[in-house]
Structures are given as C-alpha cells and as structure tokens.
Symmetry: C2
Subunit: 214 residues, 2 copies
C-alpha cells in the first residue's frame, strides 16, 4: 500500500466534530446494529429496523453510514476496540510469540462463539465490502494487526517478514471464521488452522538461530 491512499479528497480527513446529539445518534445506531445482528445475523440487520430501533430517520441513518456494509464494518470497528481493550488487560500467558498470538486469537474466537450471529454479520460485511468501504475495512485491518502485534510482544519494531506473517495470520483468521460461521469447519478445525498458521511466526524470528529446533 502506497502513501497515496487518500490524498485527493480533503473531505474525509477533516471529520467535522460531531455535536453531542450527533454523537449520541451515532452510538444509538451502532448499538441497534449490534443488537439486531446479535440475534439473526447479517440478514436481521435491516436498515429500516436499525433506523426505527435507534430513533432516527432512514435518511439520517444513511447520512451516518452510507450503506449497510459501512454500518456493519463500523460495528466491527466498535467491537474490535472493545476486544482490544479487554485483551490488553489480560495479556497471553504463553512464552513463544507464536503461541501467544494463537492464544489471543483463540480468546477472540471464544468471544465470537458467544455471539455467533453478531460475528456472522460483521465478518460477512467485512469480506463482502467493495472498494467504497476500503478506508473503513483498512481501519479494521489495522486494529487486528495491532492486536496481533500486541500479542507478539513487539509493538512497533517488526521486520517486514514478520509483518508478512501477521498479514497471513489475518487472512487465515478471517477466512477460518467464515468457514466456521457457514458451518463448513468445526471449532476444533479453526483452532488447528490458527495454531498452524501461527507457526509462521517462529519462522520469522528476529534473532536467527535462537529458536530450538523441533
């Protein structure tokens, strides 16, 4: 990704500060979205219902979130921030970076198992998003990356190889979630896939030669 991501639309970076009521509206909308998604999943999040449940006109809903996908991706941003905060409070106990990442992702996975419908709505929206949602999806991606780097124990100084491994882990994470949510993979299989991909981290160790062979 280049540095020229959004250099030509000065409207977005300058997010006009929302008033109190506007911030409240936004919260109500996100809450309604998560609530509807929580039971019923993607299909249960109907824009008219979200609008009604959050006491907002349909047009207003679309002003805040220009599409259902935008809304659900924003919902995921919201949930991910919660999760990031929660995970920070209890860092993984394992010693190997790879094991720590696997442990963290399995915790996140368990959280999703508690709300499978919500997870369904968010992940489906995320992978279905087209170019018009790229900035928002990118934010989600950065959040996920941050969570994984946190688990690894290195925040900012990662080698390009490690960043590649993290990207691959993210790919696996999303795709494995999808296969689980659509009933094509068991929980056990998701666990195995996560553990398998996390072995990549041991491969890209920053200190060459310090890993004990298997």
């Amino acid at each position: 990704m280049g540095h020229m991501t959004s250099e030509h639309r000065p409207a977005l970076p300058a997010t006009p500060p929302l008033t109190e009521r506007q911030e409240a509206r936004r919260r109500r909308i996100l809450h309604a979205s998560a609530q509807l998604a929580g039971r019923g999943g993607f299909d249960a999040v109907q824009m008219r219902e979200v609008a009604e449940l959050s006491n907002v006109a349909l047009g207003t809903l679309y002003r805040y979130f220009p599409s259902k996908i935008h809304l659900l991706v924003a919902t995921m941003q919201d949930q991910l921030q919660h999760m990031h905060a929660t995970l920070r409070k209890r860092p993984p106990t394992e010693s190997d970076p790879g094991a720590r990442v696997a442990q963290t992702l399995m915790r996140a996975f368990r959280a999703m198992q508690r709300e499978p419908h919500l997870a369904d709505a968010m992940v489906r929206a995320l992978t279905f998003a087209d170019r018009s949602v790229s900035p928002e999806v990118d934010t989600v991606s950065r959040l996920t990356t941050a969570i994984i780097l946190d688990a690894m124990g290195l925040d900012s100084d990662a080698t390009p190889e490690q960043l590649s491994a993290v990207r691959v882990i993210e790919h696996t994470w999303h795709s494995a979630l999808i296969t689980w949510l659509s009933g094509r993979a068991s929980i056990a299989q998701v666990k195995i896939d996560i553990e398998t991909v996390c072995r990549l981290i041991e491969l890209t160790g920053p200190q060459p030669g310090l890993q004990r062979p298997e």
Copy 2:
C-alpha cells in the same frame, strides 16, 4: 472436449439426469453469468439480465440456481475446473513443494488479473455464501485443495499436518484475493503473502524418507 471426470455430481440425493436441452440451458446460464461478471463484476450479474441473455425465464433460472450466490459459486466451480485442467498440462517447474505451490497459485492469480471483474464476482460470492450454499462452496474448496495437492506432487497421501497447511494456504489465497480485489493490497503484496504462507509446507515435513523427486 472433456471426456474425463464426468464423475462430478455434487447433488447426491437424487440428481435427475438432465436432458440435452436442459444441459444446454445450464451451459447458457453459466456462460451468461461469466460474461456479465467479466465486465462489471458482482453487481453486473443481475438475475434478470442473466435470464434474458441466456434465453431463459426468470423462474427457470431460479430452478437451476436457487440464488445469485448459488449461480456465482457454480460459475466458480466451472472456471476452477478449466483452471485445474490447464494447470495440469503445465505442472510447476520448481523443485521444493512449497515453491511449486506458490508458483501454481501465482499462475492462477495471473489468470485472475486477466479477468478481475469475473474474479471479483466469484470470490465475493464465495465468501458471502451462507449455510444454504455449503455443499457447493465445499465443492469449490475441494477443487482448490486438489489443485494445491497436485502442485505439491502428492495426490492422496498427505499427512494431517500437511492438510492443515493446505487449508491455511487456501484461507490465505481467498483472503488475499479479496484484499487485492478491493484495492487494499497490491499485486506484489499478494505475491509476498502467498510465498510467505507456502513456507508452511516446508515446515510440515513429508513422511520420513518418502521424499519424492519428480
């Protein structure tokens, strides 16, 4: 053309054999689907247009493919079978199994670059599919697995570890495609991700002593 592998009848319970005209209709539909997808991507595949372009009534289209997602996943099955046949003709030239898989996937990726809109329609449908499409998506998954195992050089005897690695490679493949199609990752990055994940294959040692040269 195509006298081999007529064994693929995914609908196990009572697939009534199609008549000549029915088979022709099915082909016309799939062709129209791929054509519309080819320019315009997912959104350009509109059921009414598919029906019209393939000279079939809308109700008939829905009898053959019970949803747009089913239709596009079936289109992907079709394209994947082509690709599998094509790839078989020119097997990868690398020696390491991991490198062979990477080479094969990059070939497939290059094919997708030639028809990005078609790729977009198929992959979006694949990851958006819900439980009702599981059998069809599973068929696509098995096809992909077969392609990868082919590239590795072992067709039927793979260790569970290797199968895990293959699943993770598939996850990465799909997800990396998505990020590329939605403009969030460059071609170079997809290449790196594929090469990174293919290192997993080297990790999962083959059966001791059974190294199989070409």
